[in-house]
């Protein structure tokens, strides 16, 4: 029987972080071409197309015409916020396994800075959220919600500002090697603690950057991947899960990563201890701590201790994370961090990360993200990749 596995064969990250002079549609086209070139494929090879609402116009319908995709026989425009592209990888792998497409293209690009859209999600009408009909008082501000999450985590588990700061410190150690990173200066715990308070207990350096940009990823059927001249990176496992506020017990100290991670590890047949590199969604420092716990890298409540003392720094700690600098230092295109997380995980699995941050054993890596808010409802998605 033919190998039904899907392989990542092409990736591309747009170097821009501020794009006032290029349309969002063209950014999608450019990242698509970049990833296809990396794979050694062409637009005509693509028969599956995946995007979220950052794709302008009517999503895939518009973009297929704009990009001249003539051979599409499968599409998926699932929108789960910043985790959408991780969901797309899992859906593309399933479609390839089912024979619905052979070469899947996923694009992401937006320009909240260049287009002066601020903190929203392109293509998503947040004013239509049904719960907004029953709330007033506060402008939609992600940091306020995550601040309440952080405060509760500190209250229940004794997590400290210093521990949260270590997440940023580790990201900055990696960002110094990324010429495209917005913030390349290495920072110390004291500098994070000394940065201005934004919403207690989160300070400016606990928050990710706001940037333009994007990226693309191409997956292909096993026999196609083997014909291409790129390192083989297999989609080994995946999971996605929802969490709502309206559960029996209101609890902001965990995320849907509890379930998406468990599903991904079960499908891959491995445990967190097998993972040598992890891309972890880092909208805020607390986001990383909670997701590391939920994925099983440490026990619930131990995340603060886990990240302290450089444990996330490549070459220093037990679990190198976000070796491109992540959303905290490199980019957070369109206020959606999922695509860069995938791209750096693929670079690590290929052994093509910057030599200063490349992990020596890169056989099993993980990318994980959360779209929506940990303070309300969200979708977590996990992707486990294996280098062959």
């Amino acid at each position: 029987m033919a190998d039904a596995s899907a392989y990542v064969v092409g990736i591309y990250e747009h170097p821009t972080r501020h794009a006032p002079d290029i349309s969002t549609a063209q950014l999608h086209f450019e990242v698509a071409c970049g990833a296809l070139q990396d794979a050694g494929l062409t637009l005509d090879d693509v028969d599956g197309y995946f995007c979220a609402s950052d794709a302008p116009g009517m999503g895939g319908v518009t973009m297929a015409e704009y990009m001249g995709l003539r051979n599409i026989r499968y599409t998926d425009t699932t929108e789960t916020g910043g985790s959408a592209y991780l969901v797309h990888v899992n859906h593309a792998a399933a479609a390839i396994a089912a024979g619905k497409c052979d070469v899947a293209l996923i694009t992401m690009a937006d320009r909240p800075m260049g287009a002066k859209q601020g903190l929203g999600l392109g293509g998503v009408d947040l004013s239509a959220l049904p719960d907004l009909a029953y709330s007033g008082a506060f402008p939609p501000m992600p940091v306020a919600g995550y601040a309440t999450v952080a405060k509760r985590h500190m209250y229940e588990f004794g997590t400290t500002s210093e521990q949260m700061a270590w997440v940023k410190v580790a990201a900055s150690h990696h960002a110094q090697h990324n010429p495209h990173a917005m913030l390349r200066d290495v920072v110390t715990v004291d500098e994070v603690i000394g940065s201005p308070m934004v919403a207690d207990p989160l300070r400016r350096l606990d928050c990710c950057v706001v940037s333009d940009g994007g990226g693309a990823i191409v997956l292909a059927r096993a026999d196609i991947a083997r014909r291409l001249n790129r390192p083989l990176v297999k989609v080994k496992g995946g999971g996605e899960a929802f969490k709502h506020r309206c559960n029996e017990t209101f609890d902001l100290t965990y995320s849907a990563g509890v379930w998406s991670g468990a599903a991904a590890f079960a499908e891959a047949g491995i445990t967190p201890a097998d993972i040598r590199y992890a891309s972890i969604y880092d909208s805020f420092t607390i986001t990383v701590i909670i997701q590391l716990e939920d994925l099983g890298f440490c026990a619930k409540g131990e995340g603060g201790k886990f990240v302290a003392d450089g444990n996330l720094i490549s070459g220093v700690g037990r679990l190198p994370f976000n070796t491109d600098g992540g959303g905290l230092c490199s980019n957070h295109p369109g206020n959606r961090g999922g695509m860069p997380k995938l791209l750096e995980a693929v670079r690590q699995a290929r052994g093509e990360a910057h030599p200063a941050v490349q992990v020596p054993d890169h056989s099993l890596v993980l990318a994980h993200g959360t779209g929506g808010s940990l303070a309300s409802y969200h979708v977590s998605a996990t992707v486990i990749l294996e280098a062959e």
Binding site: A144, A199, L252
Partner: protein, 132 residues
């Protein structure tokens, strides 16, 4: 301090009318008896359509909160309040010094006008004798 106004939908009309009268409403499910917020026609616990409005006591405890120090809403204190009836809602603290507030503090609803005059529920801390 100006608070932004809600974006109403047809089903929320009764809720906001009650707020203008100084009453915080919850929805209760006739089928599973649980209360919930935000209110909606269908019970989020058991999906029953047999739901009705009930008056909340207006008493609760602080689940978590923050104080916005920069950008829009500077000086406001968004908070998650767990009502004595069970549901937790994001509402915010008013008429108290957030520096003195702790998770677990007892609070009582206090209505204040938003930008367009619509009264919205906020919460203020109770002192040890139970008075606001």
């Amino acid at each position: 301090m100006t608070f932004s106004s809600p974006i109403p939908v047809p089903e929320s009309e009764h809720y906001w009318q009650a707020a203008n009268d100084g009453v915080l409403l919850l929805k209760q499910c006739a089928s599973c008896t649980r209360t919930f917020h935000y209110p909606r026609a269908i019970c989020p616990h058991c999906m029953s359509r047999e739901t009705h409005w009930v008056e909340a006591s207006g008493l609760g405890t602080v689940y978590s909160f923050t104080v916005i120090r920069r950008g829009p809403g500077t000086g406001t204190a968004p908070a998650f309040i767990t009502l004595d009836e069970g549901p937790t809602l994001m509402a915010g603290l008013i008429d108290c010094d957030p520096e003195d507030v702790k998770i677990g503090d007892r609070v009582r609803v206090q209505f204040a006008p938003s930008q367009n005059g619509q009264m919205i529920p906020l919460f203020t801390t109770l002192n040890e004798s139970g008075n606001a």
